[in-house]
C-alpha cells in the first residue's frame, strides 16, 4: 500500500505546485541572478532519521538505538513537522531534500514517500529537485534502494568509510567492504551519475601508503561524487576513550595532513574537482543540497535534533532564525503531536551573525564567495570594503593562502587546508567593519532609511 502511494507521488507531478519562475531546480547561481527575493521564498529541507542499529565507535551524532518499533509514529511526526515548518516559513519552493541520520536507510521507503508528499502539498518540489538519502551499505540497505528510488529519492550518499574490513570493525560499522562495493554498484545502476561515496581517513593504524591504495581501489568503483572526511575524535565516543587510554593510536597530525593533500592530488588527476573542503565531483555532479548550506541559503530542519536557518513570515518575522529541534526522539514526537513541531531553540540572527555564517560557510567552497554572492547579503559593504584594508588579511593575501580579486574572496589550494586558522582573522575584520559602519550610519544620517538588510 505504501509503495503504491509512493508510486503515485513519483508518477503524478501534478500533485506538486510549481513556482512561476525557476521551478525549484537548482541552477548554478540562480539566486544571484534572481536576487534577494528568493532568499526567503526558497529553502532546502533536511529530514533527520534518528535511529541506528548500533553505535559506531567514532560517532557522537544525535542517534538512538531503537528498541521498539515506532517507525509509523515517527513517519507521521516527520510529516507533521514538515507541514508546520513549511507553513511557518511560507517558502513557495523547496529546492532539495536530504534524508540524513542516524541511519535513514533503516526507514521504510514509504516514510520517504510520505514526507516528500507532504512537501509537495505545501510547496513546489520540482521533479528534478535533488532528493538525497544517506545509505548504510548493508545487504538490507541495498535491497531497499530500488524502493527508495520509487519513493522519490534520486541521489544516494553511501557511507563506505573504508574498504578495509579490520578498520570497519574498529569503527564499529555493521557492513563489510564487499557489501559496500555491491551497494555502490546497485546504487549506480539505479541513479547513474548521482551516487556519492563517503570515505574516512586518519583511521587507527592507517598509513599514507595504504590510504593511497584504498583511494585507487575506490576510484575504480565509484561514481561521480566523493566525500573524504578526516576522522575526528569526539569527546564521549568509545574511540576517544580508546585513544586516550592508549589502546588505539591514530595517525599524527602531520600524517593526516599528508593524507589529505595526497587525496586531493589523486582525485584531481582522476578528473574529480574539489568544490569544498571535503567534497569532490566529476561531471559537475556536486551535491546541490550541501551547496545551498555553503551558499548561505535558507534551510528547514525536520526531525529530532535537526537544525534550520530560515525566516518566519508566518509569525511576523523578518530576520533569519537559527532553529534547533528537540534532540530526544520520544520527547520530540510528543511535542510534534502537541503543537505541530518540536522546535526547542530559536535564535534570531542579526545582520552581523548572518554575514559571519555566510563567510564561514562560503569560504569552505573552492570557488569561495564571489562579489555578487556577497552583495546579496551585504549590499552596503562589499568584500573589498570589508577585507581590503586589514593588515591581517593583507598578510594572508601576501602569503598566497587567501585570494581577493575580481571574482571574489577564496582560499588558494594551500590555504583551504588551513581555513580554520584564517577564519578568526576574517571574522575579527568583519565585525570591526560592520560595527564601524553602524556607527557611521548613526552619526551621519539618522533620518535616511537604509535599504533593509537581506535576511
Amino acid at each position: 500500500m505504501m509503495s503504491l502511494r509512493a508510486a503515485r507521488r513519483a508518477l503524478s507531478p501534478g500533485v506538486r505546485r510549481f513556482s512561476d519562475t525557476s521551478g525549484g531546480e537548482i541552477v548554478e547561481d540562480v539566486s544571484e541572478r534572481t536576487g534577494c527575493a528568493q532568499l526567503t521564498t526558497q529553502a532546502s529541507l533536511y529530514v533527520h532519521w534518528p535511529y541506528c542499529l548500533r553505535r559506531c565507535s567514532y560517532c557522537n551524532f544525535n542517534k538512538y538505538i531503537s528498541r521498539d518499533n515506532n517507525d509509523h509514529m515517527m513517519t507521521e511526526c516527520l510529516q507533521k513537522e514538515t507541514e508546520t515548518l513549511l507553513q511557518l516559513s511560507q517558502v513557495s519552493c523547496v529546492t532539495s531534500v536530504f534524508f540524513g541520520g542516524g541511519t535513514p536507510s533503516l526507514a521504510h521507503p514509504s516514510t520517504v514517500a510520505a514526507v516528500l508528499e507532504t512537501v509537495s502539498g505545501q510547496a513546489s518540489l520540482s521533479e528534478k529537485a535533488e532528493v538525497t538519502l544517506e545509505v548504510n551499505p548493508t545487504p538490507v540497505g541495498m535491497s531497499k534502494l530500488e524502493d527508495f528510488c520509487r519513493a522519490g529519492v534520486n541521489r544516494f550518499s553511501i557511507g563506505v568509510q573504508s574498504l578495509q574490513d579490520d578498520d570497519l570493525k574498529i569503527l564499529g560499522r555493521d557492513h563489510s567492504s564487499r557489501q559496500a562495493l555491491q551497494t555502490i554498484e546497485e546504487a549506480r545502476r539505479l541513479c547513474p551519475g548521482r551516487v556519492s561515496v563517503d570515505v574516512m581517513f586518519g583511521r587507527p593504524k592507517q598509513s599514507v601508503e595504504s590510504w593511497e591504495n584504498e583511494l585507487s581501489k575506490l576510484l575504480r568503483v565509484c561514481d561521480d561524487h566523493m566525500s573524504l572526511y578526516q576522522l575526528t575524535l569526539e569527546r564521549g565516543t568509545q574511540l576517544f576513550k580508546q585513544v586516550q587510554g592508549g589502546e588505539v593510536t591514530v595517525p599524527a597530525e602531520d600524517v593526516t595532513a599528508e593524507m589529505y593533500q595526497c587525496a586531493r592530488r589523486t582525485l584531481h588527476q582522476h578528473g574529480f574537482l574539489q568544490y569544498e573542503v571535503s567534497n569532490f565531483a566529476k561531471h559537475k555532479a556536486v551535491s546541490h543540497h550541501n551547496m545551498s548550506y555553503w551558499k548561505g541559503r535558507q534551510y528547514i530542519g525536520v526531525g529530532p535534533g535537526a537544525h534550520g536557518r530560515f525566516v518566519l513570515p508566518g509569525e511576523g518575522g523578518v530576520a533569519r532564525e537559527a532553529r534547533t529541534q528537540t534532540l530526544e526522539p520520544d520527547v520530540w514526537m510528543r511535542e510534534v503531536q502537541q503543537r505541530g513541531h518540536g522546535t526547542r531553540r530559536r535564535i534570531q540572527l542579526n545582520h552581523l551573525e548572518l554575514l559571519e555564517e555566510v563567510l564561514v560557510m562560503g569560504m569552505r567552497m573552492t570557488e569561495g564567495i564571489n562579489h555578487k554572492h556577497w552583495e546579496l547579503f551585504s549590499p552596503q559593504l562589499s568584500l573589498r570594503e570589508v577585507f581590503g584594508r586589514s593588515t591581517d588579511v593583507q598578510e594572508l593575501l601576501q602569503s598566497g593562502r587567501l585570494i581577493l580579486d575580481d571574482r571574489g574572496l577564496r582560499c588558494s589550494w594551500d590555504g583551504l587546508a588551513l581555513l580554520d586558522s584564517m577564519l578568526p582573522a576574517l571574522l575579527v575584520e568583519l565585525e570591526r567593519q560592520i560595527s564601524q559602519r553602524l556607527q557611521r550610519d548613526h552619526h551621519t544620517d539618522g533620518q535616511t532609511k537604509k535599504t533593509s538588510n537581506p535576511r
Binding site: T256, E357, L416
Partner: protein
C-alpha cells in the same frame, strides 16, 4: 648594651655566629639568674594561693576600670611566639577566658585571629592586643597580651610587638618538638633581651613526649628544663601556671608615672569613621582624653578623642598610664600620620623620641595584575585598603605589555605574599594574576657616568628589564638568607642534596635529640623563593620545617636571559638568573611556552638566549592542516561558537613579530606554579 648585642649578632659572619653559641649561653644564664632573683622576691612577698584562681579577676563593670590602680609594677606586657600550629592562639583563647575577657564557650577558637585567612591557615598575620585583669596573691594585675604572628615572614610585626613587651611565652608542641620557626622566634626574643618562658603544649596528645622536648629546649636554647611549663591549652591543663609565671618571671615595664608622657606607636589600624586607631605602649607619664599630643615624626599636634584598653575589643577608659598598653584615636585622618615606631608626647612636654623601628625591607617581589583590565580600579582600591593595615608591603606601579597595567609589590617573604594575595581575593573579592616571585638584586656600578646618574655606586634592580650591562658593572650582588631546617635524621641525605642543588652552603648541623637534626644553610634567596619549601615538605613526607632570616648580599655571577620568539625578544619574559642555572631555567621557560602557545600557520622557534648566544630551544611546528572536515547545516551553530571564541581570543593576543601569543601563555610562564 642590648642594642649593641643585637647589632653585633647581625654583623658577625655566620660561621662565627655558630661558634659563638657558647658565649651567648653564658649570657642567657646570666639573664636567667636575674630572673630567678626577681621571682624569689615576688614569692617571698606574696604567698601562692592557687585555689583562688578560679574566682579571679573578672572586671564585670567595664566603666569601673580605674587604670590609675595599676602602677607599672603591677603590669606585665608579654607576647606568645610559636611555630605554626603549636597552639599559640588556643592558649591565647584560654588566657582570655580565664581572665574573663571573653565568656568561656565552646566556640572560642582563635579569638584573636580575626581575618578569614588566619582562621583558615591557622596562622596569625596581624598582631592583636588584649588586656587581661588577673588576680594574683591578692593583688590585681594588668596583663597585656600581644598576639604575634608565628611566621618569620611577619617578623616585622613580631619585632614591633616585642618592643612593647618584657617577656614571651615560647610555645613548643609536645609531639613535634622544636621546629624551624621556634628557633627563629626564640632568637628574636632573645636578641631583644626578653624574659622567655618555655611552654610545652599539647601534652594531652597520645604521642606527646614533653621530656624529649624539654631536653631539646635545654640543648638548643640553653634554658633549664625546670623552667618549662607543661600544658594542654585545648583542655586548659596547667594554664593557670602560665598566668602565674607571667607575673612571677616577666619583669614589669620600666616606666614611671612621674615622667612626662611618652608613648611608642607599635601598630595602627584604619577605621573609616574615626581615622587611624593607633596601638601604643606608654613608656612614661599619663595621657587622657582631651590632651593635646604631638607626633615626633611629623611634628603635628592632635587632640586625643578616645583611648583605652583592648580586651581584645576596644574598651574606652579615658586615661592610660605609664607601663600600660592600649589604643588611641586622635583625629589622624591618614594612615601615614600614624607612623609605626613614632613617639607621641604631650604638646607642652616635648621628649626625646624613642629609637623606633627600621622599616621592613621587602625581600620578595611579585607582579600583580587584574585578570581583566576593567577590574583595574577595583583592584587598586583593594590593594590600597590592604596596605593601609600592612605597611610592610611596598607598592610600585608597573605595566606589562602582555598583562596590562598592574603593580610590582614587595613582601617580607613568601608566606607574606601568599597571605596578602589570599586576603585580596577573600576580603576584596579581587581575582588577580600573581607573577612568579623575584628577589631584589644589586649591581655595583663601575661607570662614573652611571654612578652620577643614579647618585650611588650600588643600585638595586627590581625590574629585570633594567638590569645593567656587565660592561658598566664591577659586580652583581644577590640577597642571601640563612635557612634553618629541622627534620628527622632519616631525611638528612635527601635534604642535603636538595640544598646543594639550590647553591646552598652548609653552615651548621646539630642533633637536637637522638633523632632530630637542625641544619643551617646559607642560601641565595632566589633559590628558596619559588618552590623550595614545597619540595622540602614532599621529600620529607611533611616532617621537615624550614625558616629563614635575611643574611645580607653576596657577589654572584648573574646574567640576563632573554626569551625569543622567532628571534624577537619578549620584554616581559626577561629574567635574571645565576649563570649556573641559566640552562635549566631557560629550558623550563621554553617548554612552558611551547605548551601554551597554540600552533600557527608557520613554525615558531622558542629560544632562551644570553646575549647573542642561544642556550635552549623548542619548536612549535606549523599547522599543515587545520580545517573542520564536516560542516553542514547541523554543524554551523557549534562551528560558529568555536570560531567566535577564537576571534575574541585573537583580539587579546599579544603580537611578537607575527607570532600571536595568548595572555594565557604569559600567565602560564610568569605565574607561580600551583601547588
Amino acid at each position: 648594651m642590648s642594642f649593641s648585642l643585637v647589632k653585633r649578632w647581625c654583623e658577625t659572619p655566620l660561621l662565627r655566629r655558630v661558634l659563638q653559641f657558647k658565649t651567648y649561653r653564658r649570657k642567657i644564664l646570666n639573664y636567667n639568674m636575674t630572673y630567678t632573683l626577681l621571682r624569689h622576691r615576688w614569692m617571698k612577698r606574696l604567698p601562692v594561693l592557687s585555689s583562688s584562681f578560679k574566682m579571679i579577676s573578672t572586671q564585670t563593670d567595664k566603666d569601673a576600670v580605674d587604670l590609675s590602680k595599676f602602677p607599672a609594677d603591677r603590669i606585665r606586657n608579654f607576647c606568645i611566639i610559636a611555630h605554626i600550629d603549636h597552639g599559640k592562639s588556643t592558649l591565647a583563647d584560654r588566657l582570655l577566658e580565664m581572665t574573663g575577657a571573653i565568656a568561656k564557650t565552646e566556640k572560642n577558637k582563635q579569638v584573636l585571629d580575626k581575618l578569614q585567612v588566619e582562621r583558615e591557615r591557622g596562622i596569625t598575620v596581624k598582631a592583636q592586643t588584649a588586656s587581661l585583669f588577673y588576680n594574683h596573691e591578692g593583688q590585681q594585675y594588668l596583663l597585656n597580651l600581644i598576639d604575634t604572628p608565628g611566621h618569620v615572614d611577619f617578623s616585622y610585626e613580631v619585632s614591633r610587638s616585642i618592643s612593647a613587651c618584657q617577656g614571651v611565652l615560647l610555645i613548643v608542641d609536645a609531639n613535634q618538638g622544636i621546629q624551624a620557626q621556634t628557633v627563629a622566634n626564640f632568637y628574636l626574643a632573645f636578641e631583644a633581651q626578653l624574659a622567655i618562658i618555655p611552654v610545652i603544649n599539647k601534652i594531652d596528645l597520645k604521642n606527646a613526649d614533653p621530656e624529649r622536648v624539654e631536653s631539646q629546649i635545654e640543648k638548643v636554647f640553653d634554658i633549664p628544663r625546670e623552667e618549662c611549663i607543661r600544658i594542654s591549652a585545648k583542655l586548659g591543663t596547667n594554664v593557670e601556671n602560665v598566668l602565674q609565671a607571667v607575673v612571677d618571671r616577666i619583669p614589669p615595664p620600666e616606666a614611671s608615672i612621674d615622667d612626662p608622657f611618652k608613648a611608642l606607636v607599635f601598630d595602627s589600624n584604619f577605621d573609616h569613621y574615626r581615622g587611624v586607631v593607633a596601638n601604643i605602649a606608654v613608656f612614661g607619664g599619663r595621657v587622657k582624653k582631651g590632651d593635646r599630643i604631638v607626633s615626633a615624626y611629623l611634628g603635628k599636634t592632635y587632640e586625643v578623642n578616645e583611648l583605652g584598653l583592648l580586651r581584645p575589643d576596644e574598651h574606652s577608659t579615658g586615661k592610660l598610664f605609664a607601663g600600660q598598653v592600649g589604643y588611641i584615636v586622635a583625629g589622624m585622618k591618614d594612615v601615614k600620620e600614624a607612623q609605626i615606631g613614632d613617639t607621641l608626647y604631650l604638646q607642652e612636654q616635648p621628649v626625646e623620641a624613642l629609637p623606633g623601628f627600621k622599616p621592613a625591607k621587602a625581600m620578595v617581589f611579585a607582579g600583580m595584575y587584574p585578570m581583566d583590565q576593567s577590574e583595574y580600579q577595583g583592584l587598586r582600591s583593594a590593594i590600597e585598603k590592604l596596605t593601609l593595615n600592612d605597611s610592610s608591603v611596598t607598592v610600585q606601579r608597573d605595566s606589562s605589555l602582555a598583562l596590562g597595567a598592574g603593580w610590582r609589590l614587595g613582601f617580607l617573604g613568601l608566606l607574606h605574599m601568599e597571605v596578602f594575595n589570599q586576603r585580596l581575593e577573600q576580603e576584596y573579592n579581587a581575582s588577580v594574576i600573581v607573577t612568579a616571585p623575584t628577589v631584589p638584586y644589586k649591581a655595583v656600578l663601575s661607570s662614573a657616568k652611571l654612578i652620577k646618574e643614579h647618585g650611588s655606586k650600588e643600585i638595586t634592580i627590581v625590574n629585570p628589564a633594567q638590569f645593567p650591562d656587565r660592561t658598566v658593572v664591577s659586580e652583581y650582588l644577590e640577597p642571601m638568607v640563612l635557612g634553618t631546617i629541622l627534620a628527622p635524621d632519616s631525611y638528612t641525605g635527601k635534604i642535603m642534596s636538595l640544598c646543594l642543588n639550590r647553591r646552598a652552603v652548609q653552615k651548621n648541623m646539630l642533633y637536637i635529640d637522638d633523632q632530630r637534626v637542625m641544619m643551617k644553610y646559607l642560601f641565595p634567596l632566589n633559590e628558596v623563593v619559588v618552590d623550595f619549601y614545597d619540595l622540602l615538605k614532599s621529600l620529607s613526607s611533611g616532617y621537615a620545617s624550614f625558616d629563614y632570616e635575611n643574611a645580607g648580599y653576596q657577589a654572584a655571577d648573574l646574567i640576563k636571559m632573554d626569551i625569543l620568539l622567532n628571534g624577537r625578544p619578549v620584554e616581559e619574559l626577561i629574567t635574571i638568573v645565576h649563570r649556573d642555572r641559566a640552562y635549566s631555567s631557560g629550558k623550563a621557560m621554553c617548554e612552558r611556552l611551547k605548551d601554551s602557545i597554540p600552533r600557527q600557520m608557520f613554525e615558531i622557534a622558542v629560544q632562551a638566549a644570553i646575549g647573542s648566544k642561544v642556550i635552549a630551544r623548542e619548536t612549535i611546528k606549523a599547522y599543515k592542516k587545520n580545517v573542520l572536515a564536516k560542516c553542514y547545516g547541523g554543524d554551523i551553530t557549534r562551528k560558529m561558537k568555536l570560531l567566535k571564541k577564537q576571534a575574541e581570543g585573537k583580539k587579546k593576543m599579544r603580537l611578537i613579530g607575527s607570532v600571536e601569543v595568548p595572555k594565557d601563555a604569559f600567565i602560564n610562564v610568569l605565574k607561580r606554579k600551583q601547588k
